[in-house]
């Protein structure tokens, strides 16, 4: 069982829930957990959410509200401190980064697809890892950038961050202003010859564009790990 220890609004559409889970076994960066909600008449609904926190930090998930969703509007808008629901996890052993991995890391996130990548960036920072890590993060607008302030602190401290804003840019914006494409990947990605490992997370179309583009750049498909989410609120 999880008790909500704190809630942190991130953007107009997303909120972080810090969870206090009795008997939590610990997790690895990139894993997810299952949330199960139960209404007072016994009806239940379950969904999976990526873990945002690094191993060893207070357990947190970040949830994006899907307007036609069943669970996410509850987690983003209704839940408050002290509320409780069931969780199960951690789950998944593939989309996982370990600080001991010495390969250069490329993280490619679209929208709330940044959440499991944030766990990796936080784990990298917490471990003081000196492996190269770069995050290419696509958002609609600057206001949709999740973890904006914290990413500002992480940027340059062992992590490079490259933003692209696809739907609107503030005055004076000097970053990318389009959807991810092969030219952008060529400019941002580590050379394929460096043997990088890649984690891509976002919508299906985003992930396909990024993963296919990286393979065209010569990346080994076995080391392009992907996680795709559909409309699964």
């Amino acid at each position: 069982m999880a008790e909500v220890a704190a809630t942190v609004p991130e953007t107009p559409r997303t909120r972080t829930l810090v969870l206090d889970v009795r008997g939590w076994s610990g997790h690895r960066a990139g894993q997810h957990l299952d949330v199960r909600l139960t209404s007072d008449d016994g009806y239940q609904a379950q969904r999976s959410y990526s873990i945002a926190s690094a191993p060893g930090q207070p357990l947190a998930i970040t949830v994006e509200r899907l307007e036609d969703g069943e669970v996410s509007p509850y987690l983003v808008d209704v839940v408050h401190d002290g509320d409780a629901f069931e969780v199960r996890g951690p789950i998944g052993g593939y989309f996982v980064w370990e600080p001991g991995d010495e390969r250069p890391v490329l993280l490619v996130g679209g929208g709330s697809g940044v959440v499991p990548l944030m766990a990796m960036a936080r784990a990298h920072n917490a471990a003081g890892a000196d492996t190269r890590m770069r995050l290419l993060y696509s958002s609609r607008t600057l206001d949709d950038v999740i973890y904006r302030e914290e990413l500002g602190h992480l940027d340059g401290n062992g992590l490079d961050i490259v933003y692209t804003l696809t739907r609107g840019q503030p005055p004076g914006w000097t970053g990318y202003a389009r959807r991810i494409d092969d030219d952008m990947l060529r400019e941002v990605a580590w050379p394929a010859g460096d043997g990088p490992i890649v984690f891509v997370c976002g919508s299906t179309h985003f992930v396909d564009a990024a993963a296919d583009g990286l393979v065209r750049l010569g990346y080994d498909p076995r080391w392009v790990k992907t996680e795709r989410f559909g409309a699964t609120g």
Binding site: S39, A45, E70, A84, G230, A231, T232
Partner: protein, 203 residues
């Protein structure tokens, strides 16, 4: 007793209970879940193989595969990520037909490993892919199967969670042991029966 989630009501418009397994909800979409880039397989180099112990027992080219007796299949499918999709329509060749054509109906392996272009694999008891329960399909909703959904051809084992229905399927290895495949080595259940909610290790 599950803890009540204060203020949660839910939608509960989730289709007939005898068709939606526990913990699932019905979607009209067809979400894509893949662990890596989508492999693009050309039909002129595509084959479907049956192996055992390192020996190739039988193989079909795309053209030969198209010549096998085909079936229309309408089934509900259930993804371990919690969505179910009802009345999906497919067309392809049943695994029974493939084993028959390869004269392997009497072959007595208890398990199979389905393996795919791109390196994916998944383990199954032989009884879960024979007896009219599994197909190699190349058509969805009347159209050639899209690569992101596993085209040119995928396995379809609709009575198990959908990760067992290997996309971009390339063949079956007949074997005596049920060694775990890709997701089964990464936290997911060895068999994956949605009606028993066999999602993860320990279920």
């Amino acid at each position: 007793m599950p803890v009540i989630s204060r203020g949660f009501h839910g939608r509960r418009q989730d289709g007939p209970p005898d068709r939606v397994p526990p913990g699932q909800y019905v979607t009209e979409d067809f979400p894509v879940l893949s662990a890596g880039p989508t492999p693009h397989v050309h039909l002129d180099s595509w084959t479907f193989e049956i192996q055992r112990g390192g020996d190739l027992l039988h193989a079909w080219t795309w053209e030969e595969f198209q010549g096998l007796p085909r079936e229309d299949v309408t089934r509900d499918i259930h993804c371990v990520t919690k969505w179910s999709k009802l009345d999906t329509t497919w067309e392809g060749v049943s695994v029974d037909t493939l084993l028959d054509a390869a004269r392997l109906l009497d072959e007595d392996s208890a398990y199979v490993l389905a393996y795919s272009y791109g390196g994916y694999d998944t383990n199954l008891p032989r009884d879960d892919v024979t007896g009219g329960k599994a197909w190699v399909v190349d058509t969805f909703d009347g159209e050639p199967l899209d690569p992101e959904h596993g085209g040119p051809a995928r396995l379809l084992v609709p009575h198990l969670y959908f990760w067992k229905s290997a996309k971009w399927v390339r063949g079956l290895i007949m074997r005596d042991e049920d060694d775990p495949g890709f997701w089964e080595s990464n936290g997911y259940h060895l068999r994956g029966d949605p009606w028993l909610e066999q999602r993860y290790w320990g279920d």
